[in-house]
Symmetry: C2
Subunit: 475 residues, 2 copies
């Protein structure tokens, strides 16, 4: 289980954290293998495994006959993009046709999908899922059909609760509702705690679907500054909470889209406490939670939810089964409302995909799949960062998330990212320009790039082209 | 294909229509077989087949050595319930917990499901669907996954359009969106044409889920009188349209839930014309359209939609695959909005159920399944009407729908149907009391009974018990 990391994973995790926290800095020599063995009471093989893992992830490098060193960025590119300071007033949300255009472009298989929101489909065990689906459907007692209305298949809900419990997140038996993907879960949770005209706090930049959902539900957004590495700025959030009535916060504390920010554990705890103090529900979008590059799953904010105010939403769409549309909400004290809203808006989630996944989970192999997927995504991220370093203009800043499959680029201010996107599309390359990620169209010289397509041979050429286009625009 | 009825089906259909229209009245002798052969230029075998079909459906009876006669009701029970005259003012919708309680009760397999909204699960070809699902998923090209976002699988949409075209309902290539069941389709269509506070016309009585959806979207309902046999009263509707701004009509012109009313073709045409004249969109719920007892599918209102103002919604949940949650909207000129709303609220419908159904449709057998299903539902309806006649109090009125699987009972006014429902539940029998079907809790002595559970041996006893409880309350 991912919840009990092996000794070498544990060691790699500790080192990665030390690097992230700046305790070990670029160019620093790591403790020798012998010294680490002695200090930790572990075998040399374990240390070699751990260092090998860190090397694979691009965090350290070995220098022949010298030892292991924290990786030095080739240029100053590793500098993180800066956090934006959004306006604190609520704005009505009006999302352009850009997001629809972007989704439409991902349907064109000739386009290199750097703007896509999904990882490459070849990363997922569709064959195995199909076999499990067939097996589960053959065994289906037709009477299960009505039983699965509305909260979802009981076997799947039990498997999910078990998995959460092993990750230290106990969920109440009746708080889990299976939904048509995480997006429906987020919609239902938001409806459960808001009325049209209410103010909802979101990150800046934020996932464009959040903007669309707020627009649809006629809610007003307050964007709060979000650090590219550590997530939402709690001091800024507190000021907003003191200044106006906030109906809900919709945040992505783990591998935020588009930044990839991961709130440190203490910060997540403080976030939950702050919101509980103000009685404000937190809608937590955790769809990338399983896609961590380090050895352990970062706990979701839900892990610290004593008040039942965290409405935790996730799905299998990014980590196991895109297209199956199996998501869920664990909505704490609002679970009853979410369930009733689910019944009113789409009755229940489709049963065949639920049964396929439940059977797959029961037979094991999910954690093995996830380990492989995480390693592939981490490798590709490393490669993509190098491509940015090689091809993009000077002063480009790029994030280096500890999970997920997005990079966020801050280009030189002269580069109009929307124009860059359009020029790239003309050459068969999609990107996600920064204006998509804010209601008031800030992030004009920013790009989100998808690094979730390892093995797509067109990516290198596309990155070279994109970098050249950006360099030309940077002057 | 159901679209090309055989000669005997055609004859049976014509006779059934003559009976419904009163051209042939209870006790009338039908034309002799010889005479019919001569007049129609068909063989005696064909006439015998047609008369056999009508007999099976309880419309006629054969009297030995005498001929065929239009069936006479044993008591005056066949008198139809009366249409209610609702208030013409808009009312805010507030649906009680009763609907949720009802759905919850259907999960208890020990309860006789006379209140259920679904037919018995044993009526559906789950094994075959599972085989088709397995086959389709094995063949899945992972790249199809992103292609199916947002409008749905192209193969399924093509099959649906083909089916509609053969039924005389041409749909535009880009107007069809696959949804998570018909309920999501109805929700999205309603959102596409309304804003909170708007007035929506519904039938009286109406499907309780419609009331819940209006409540959720903060819309106001105007209920229009609806005839138990022929559907919504067009004169009443026209008065409403003249008196106030109506944002949309949400109607079920074919086998309305709960009445089972079927609007005659001319009335459907007049409805579409009236609404087009006023520029008011019609949201057509056609989920029971395939469950006709006669020989031909009644055309949906969408068949007469020249202005693109009919937002037609349906699904496979009642006729092929409950639990698969595969529905659709053909939303005319509002198709683009519906598709965008779909993307914002749940992105896309699950792919495995879509592929399973598309493969099943492609391999044939759907129409054979439907013929069998229709015959079973018609038989059981006939049986259930007899059970009402046998066990229920004098002056009970009952509908005799030409399709679907509901009976609507008007009990003597002394019978409080909600109290009756509660007493029945205490004995393990669910019903759907009339108050569920109106925002202002009229229909206090009415019941909807589900006749879609042929072969459930508990039904006879339940009907006896229910009748006895009602008789006791009638005094």
């Amino acid at each position: 289980m991912t919840n009990h990391p092996t000794r070498y994973e544990q060691l790699a995790d500790d080192m990665a954290q030390a690097i992230r926290e700046g305790l070990l800095r670029p160019g620093d020599r790591l403790p020798s293998v012998r010294e680490t063995c002695r200090r930790r009471g572990i075998s040399p093989a374990t240390v070699f495994q751990a260092y090998g893992l860190l090397e694979t992830r691009g965090l350290i490098e070995s220098r022949p006959r010298s030892g292991y060193y924290v990786q030095v960025p080739r240029r100053a590119l590793r500098e993180l993009p800066q956090a934006a300071v959004p306006r604190a007033e609520a704005t009505d949300v009006a999302v352009s046709a850009l997001a629809f255009e972007l989704l439409e472009s991902t349907r064109n298989l000739d386009v290199v999908p750097l703007g896509s929101a999904f990882p490459g489909a070849h990363l997922f065990p569709f064959d195995r899922l199909a076999r499990h689906g067939a097996r589960a459907m053959r065994r289906l007692n037709p009477r299960q059909i009505t039983n699965a209305l509305t909260a979802g298949d009981e076997g799947l809900r039990l498997a999910l609760r078990r998995r959460y419990a092993l990750q230290g997140v106990p969920l109440a038996a009746d708080e889990l509702v299976v939904t048509n993907g995480a997006l429906e879960a987020l919609n239902l949770c938001l409806q459960a705690v808001t009325r049209p005209g209410d103010v909802v706090v979101i990150e800046s930049p934020t996932f464009y679907a959040a903007l669309q959902v707020l627009e649809r539900l006629r809610l007003r957004a307050v964007e709060v500054a979000t650090d590219p590495a550590e997530g939402v700025d709690l001091a800024a959030l507190e000021r907003v909470l003191q200044q106006q009535r906030v109906a809900a916060c919709w945040l992505m504390p783990t591998f935020q889209n588009p930044l990839g920010a991961l709130m440190p554990v203490a910060r997540k705890q403080a976030l939950v406490a702050l919101l509980a103090h103000h009685g404000v529900p937190l809608i937590e979008d955790d769809v990338y939670g399983e896609l961590y590059a380090d050895a352990r799953r970062p706990p979701p904010a839900k892990a610290f939810d004593a008040a039942g105010l965290v409405l935790h939403c996730s799905s299998f769409s990014k980590c196991l089964a895109p297209g199956y549309r199996v998501g869920w909400a664990a909505a704490g004290r609002h679970a009853g409302s979410v369930q009733r809203l689910k019944m009113m808006s789409s009755l229940a989630a489709a049963l065949p995909p639920q049964l396929a996944i439940a059977d797959y989970l029961a037979q094991g192999g999910y954690d093995r799949h996830l380990r492989q997927l995480r390693a592939q995504l981490a490798d590709e991220q490393r490669r993509m960062v190098r491509l940015v370093e090689c091809h993009f203009p000077r002063h480009t800043r790029v994030t280096r998330p500890a999970g997920g499959y997005f990079l966020w680029l801050e280009l030189p201010p002269a580069v109009d990212a929307l124009a860059l996107h359009q020029r790239a599309m003309a050459q068969g390359i999609s990107t996600a320009p920064g204006v998509l990620f804010s209601a008031d169209r800030r992030f004009t010289h920013h790009l989100r790039l998808n690094t979730g397509h390892p093995g797509d041979r067109r990516v290198d050429g596309a990155m070279r082209t994109l970098g050249a286009l950006a360099s030309a625009m940077a002057g």
